[in-house]
């Protein structure tokens, strides 16, 4: 998006910074970065929340170093937050930053090297290092400063340390709120709203701490007013409806509550754990239980036990944990036990990149577990979707007696976005545990010929006694020794997927219904892809996009849509072979996951482009891909 800026003087006479020319912009990307432990993440999240409360569109992205405690002042140690705020709805983290607050020059260089800053970007840099008693630190600071200025960045040195010391002895706890105050001043956000936010952020801390942080906030705000000739206004259009600001993992956790589930069993794993942290905090209030099991196999089988006993349960994990659950998931498929599995994807294979985003688990969730194990896979594409997907998942799991996987990722997990406040609907809740008498003669797997569905028997139901087994079984649930019975079971479990597929609606095309190129995506990349498509359409390109929420089963009507476009490609966050590699050709090229699914299902020549850098997808990247694909550059 091009930033058209106009300058308006702020009404009223104020000293120095308060009288700064206010530049009105439709959106900005702001980053706050520090060594880890200095609280930049908290600053960024609060800033995003305040902007959202003001009515701005907001999307925040966490900047996470790979290690918990990387060495101080290291290029790889940048920790913090990116906040993209705009006048209208924001659906992704955007491209490069317009303004950066950095607590030291090294973490800043990390972001510069990663090309995360716009040319000419404004940098507010902690100045304490210039006169540091360690000469090599002072030298590296001076050198970096000069280089940044020479590269055309607008570097403003800010004595954050000095100013904070006036209020607190340990600036490692506090500088972040000073920075928050500065940002609120620069972006002309309401100070009272900011005070409110500080109180909310530290709601679990002491009163004294909230007061100290509020003083730091105000100090930062006033300092910027007086000293900074820097002010932006991003017109806010407060939504007509009430909004909530959450990150994806919190939305998942609230979805668990809203779905009426009562049991979550899990084993800690990044980036899924924070969902369980939040759930642990709130779940007991509705009689819900979070069980931290001894490992993921136990977590999954525990959930299966609870589900079998009548309380559909959820287990939350990420890639390595998902792999461990595979055998148990197969049991749930085979025995037709409803189960919700949340996979917050991270980089893989193996331990991979724990804090980084990747869409690498699509095929393992669709096809995983040995044998034919049909299950449902839903990929939320926004924070709001994380909430509703869990509700949908629980309902499908219990209606079809199936395993439903909710496939989120590291990008959605920590990103924050406002969305319309959900209105509770009692229909979200699970029905009470069925304890009615089972009609005489009814078998536990009396598979319906057309849909494959059968009625689940729950322990406690008189007349329903049977022994559930993961072995091949007949309609009575008895171990099946004859070949027909096994085939009958496979048949029924497969039909259920088709029965569900019949109920799905065809997703709508973003852009025109036909054109030269259709870009198909799934999961967290929706915002970036649609923004890129909009930009390309502004350039005059005939491109549209389609985003899939149900990745298994795929809804009907996709073939018809694809047929209306000259070319079709997916944009994904999982590995696909690069066709220009010397030894790659059509006989060995490994397509990305969704492309592979679409090609095999529809016999359409679907191309693919993917990125596995571990960062949230940027609209600018996709825009370039589209442009190149359509022969312009």
């Amino acid at each position: 998006m091009t930033t058209t800026s106009e300058s308006v003087p702020l009404p009223g006479a104020h000293p120095a910074g308060a009288g700064a020319q206010v530049t009105t912009v439709p959106e900005h990307v702001v980053e706050i970065i520090s060594d880890s432990g200095e609280g930049a993440q908290r600053c960024g999240q609060s800033f995003g929340a305040i902007a959202a409360r003001t009515g701005n569109g907001v999307w925040t992205v966490e900047i996470i170093p790979a290690e918990i405690q990387p060495p101080a002042r290291s290029v790889a140690g940048a920790s913090g937050n990116r906040v993209r705020l705009g006048s209208s709805r924001i659906t992704n983290g955007g491209d490069a930053a317009d303004l950066v607050v950095a607590f030291n020059e090294q973490v800043l260089l990390g972001r510069v090297h990663a090309n995360e800053l716009k040319p000419g970007c404004t940098i507010l840099l902690e100045s304490m290092w210039r006169a540091h008693r360690n000469p090599s630190i002072a030298a590296s600071y001076a050198e970096a400063f000069d280089a940044l200025v020479a590269s055309g960045y607008r570097v403003v040195e800010v004595p954050m340390e000095r100013e904070c010391r006036k209020l607190v002895p340990d600036t490692r706890r506090g500088k972040n709120m000073f920075a928050l105050g500065m940002l609120c001043s620069i972006y002309r956000l309401d100070l009272d709203l900011a005070r409110d936010q500080v109180a909310l952020t530290f709601r679990k801390k002491t009163r004294a701490l909230i007061e100290t942080n509020t003083r730091l906030l105000v100090a930062g705000y006033e300092w910027a007013r007086e000293h900074l000739d820097l002010a932006f206004h991003i017109p806010a259009a407060p939504a007509a409806q009430d909004q909530v600001v959450l990150n994806g993992n919190m939305a998942l956790a609230l979805g668990v509550v809203a779905s009426g589930m009562e049991v979550c069993s899990m084993y800690p794993i990044t980036p899924a754990t924070s969902a369980s942290h939040y759930l642990s905090e709130i779940f007991p209030k509705v009689g819900g239980v979070v069980h931290q099991a001894e490992d993921e196999i136990a977590a999954c089988t525990f959930a299966i036990g609870a589900s079998y006993a009548g309380k559909c349960a959820v287990t939350i994990t990420s890639g390595p944990g998902y792999s461990l659950k595979q055998e148990a998931i197969g049991l749930a498929v085979m025995a037709e036990i409803p189960l919700v599995v949340v996979d917050v994807q991270r980089g893989g294979p193996s331990t991979g990149q724990p804090t980084k985003v990747e869409q690498g688990d699509l095929l393992t969730t669709v096809f995983g577990s040995h044998g034919d194990a049909p299950k449902v896979v839903i990929a939320p594409s926004s924070i709001e979707d994380c909430f509703y997907s869990v509700i949908t998942a629980r309902r499908i799991a219990e209606t079809f007696n199936m395993v439903v996987v909710v496939l989120s990722d590291a990008s959605l997990a920590t990103a924050q976005q406002p969305f319309p406040r959900p209105e509770f609907d009692p229909a979200w809740l699970a029905p009470p545990v069925d304890q009615s008498q089972v009609p005489e003669g009814l078998a536990p797997y009396a598979w319906d010929e057309t849909t494959g569905l059968s009625r689940r028997f729950v322990p406690g139901q008189p007349g329903g006694m049977y022994t559930l087994t993961g072995l091949a079984h007949d309609t009575a649930g008895s171990v099946a020794y004859d070949p027909d019975a096994n085939e009958q079971g496979l048949h029924a479990r497969s039909l259920k997927l088709a029965a569900l597929q019949r109920t799905l609606t065809t997703p709508t095309v973003h852009g025109d219904e036909s054109g030269d190129l259709l870009v198909i995506g799934w999961g967290s990349t929706k915002g970036a892809i649609e923004e890129a498509v909009d930009r390309a359409r502004d350039d005059g390109l005939r491109v549209s996009s389609l985003h899939l929420r149900f990745v298994n089963p795929l809804p009907s009507g996709l073939k018809e849509i694809m047929d209306r476009f000259g070319r079709v490609m997916t944009v994904e966050g999982n590995w696909g072979d690069r066709p220009d590699d010397r030894i790659i050709d059509e006989s060995n090229r490994r397509y990305t996951a969704l492309a592979m699914l679409l090609r095999s299902r529809y016999l359409v020549d679907v191309d693919c482009w993917s990125e596995v850098g571990g960062q949230p997808l940027k609209p600018g990247r996709v825009h370039r891909v589209i442009t190149r694909k359509l022969g312009r550059s």
Binding site: A49, D242, V263, G288, G305, R421
Partner: protein, 328 residues
């Protein structure tokens, strides 16, 4: 309305009697275990227990893993969960947590619980959720045709250790008694049905997880394995105590070694557990006061739609942005 007239009471008793399920009512199918397999004795004891305790078949769940022993639920006319290898315990925990009203029994093998499911075994002891856990320890992998198990005595010739197994067998009793929160540990032998029954019954009444190691004969793969105990009653010590089990005169005549053992004494229990010859049979340890994780977890559990609505409202309020831009 309760009718206290004589007829009313009689009618009530009659109905109770009607609802009682006889042993046949708990039987299902024909067990496919080998002749002489110790699993048959466990099945018989359980069917008797269910009848004697007047348990409702629909309120009872037998959970197992994979192995010969894990076939047991198929022969019980109750609900049954014959899951995957090694994972009977976490499945049973999930059932227990979701349903405090059900009777939960677990039947598992030595490979199932001490090898592939070893992590779950230790943690289940620590969770102390109410259930009866029976490990059918035949010291071999039965179903998969004779491979050494963690409890196989050193030198056991099996298909994976044709020259004899290399390591000392694991002692499940000492390990179990070393776990925090252990609350009930017993050892029985399939060929002493009276103690087998009494111990399972005591376990059923225990308010927590009861762990029973059942020394189980596998005539198919380990025909002489327990001969030294079987053929020489002097190699068996029967445990008894006024607070625990007593030994019937008939049994006392058969087995000369009796030991009065107070099952609340964990140090003594650990000592006894480490003795193989003579083998202690009976309840080694019992502490009814250990807290149950299933109870702790469900402390404030009353799930309702109203509570869900209230919680969601409160949380959304916390993170709300009102249309118009101020906090709610």
């Amino acid at each position: 309305m309760i009718d206290f007239s004589r007829d009313g009471v009689a009618e009530c008793l009659l109905r109770l009697y009607d609802e009682r399920v006889e042993i046949e009512g708990f039987q299902k199918g024909v067990p496919r275990w080998c002749a002489g397999c110790g699993d048959n004795a466990v099945l018989a004891a359980l069917q008797r227990l269910l009848r004697d305790e007047g348990l409702r078949p629909e309120k009872t769940v037998f959970v197992s893993g994979i192995g010969c022993s894990s076939r047991l639920p198929h022969y019980m006319n109750t609900y049954g969960f014959h899951g995957i290898h090694g994972r009977a315990l976490p499945v049973a925990e999930g059932i227990r947590l979701a349903r405090p009203d059900l009777n939960v029994f677990v039947n598992t093998g030595d490979g199932d619980s001490f090898s592939i499911g070893a992590a779950h075994w230790l943690h289940a002891i620590r969770y102390n959720m109410r259930m009866v856990v029976m490990v059918h320890d035949n010291q071999i992998y039965g179903l998969t045709k004779k491979q050494a198990s963690p409890t196989s005595p050193r030198g056991t010739k099996s298909n994976t250790t044709p020259r004899g197994s290399y390591l000392e067998g694991l002692n499940p009793l000492t390990v179990t008694l070393g776990v925090q929160n252990v609350s009930f540990v017993a050892q029985v032998a399939d060929w002493i049905p009276e103690v087998l029954y009494d111990v399972i019954q005591a376990a059923f009444h225990h308010d927590g997880l009861s762990f029973i190691r059942i020394v189980q004969r596998c005539p198919e793969w380990m025909p002489d394995n327990f001969d030294r105990w079987l053929h020489d009653p002097a190699k068996v010590t029967l445990l008894h105590h006024p607070t625990s089990l007593s030994i019937s005169p008939a049994l006392a005549r058969l087995y000369p070694n009796h030991l009065e053992h107070d099952p609340s004494n964990i140090h003594r229990a650990r000592e006894l557990a480490s003795v193989q010859d003579p083998v202690p049979i009976g309840i080694l340890y019992h502490d009814p006061t250990v807290p149950r994780y299933d109870e702790i977890l469900r402390a404030d559990a009353t799930h309702s739609g109203t509570a869900v609505r209230r919680l969601l409202d409160a949380e959304f309020d916390k993170f709300a942005v009102q249309g118009g831009g101020t906090r709610v």
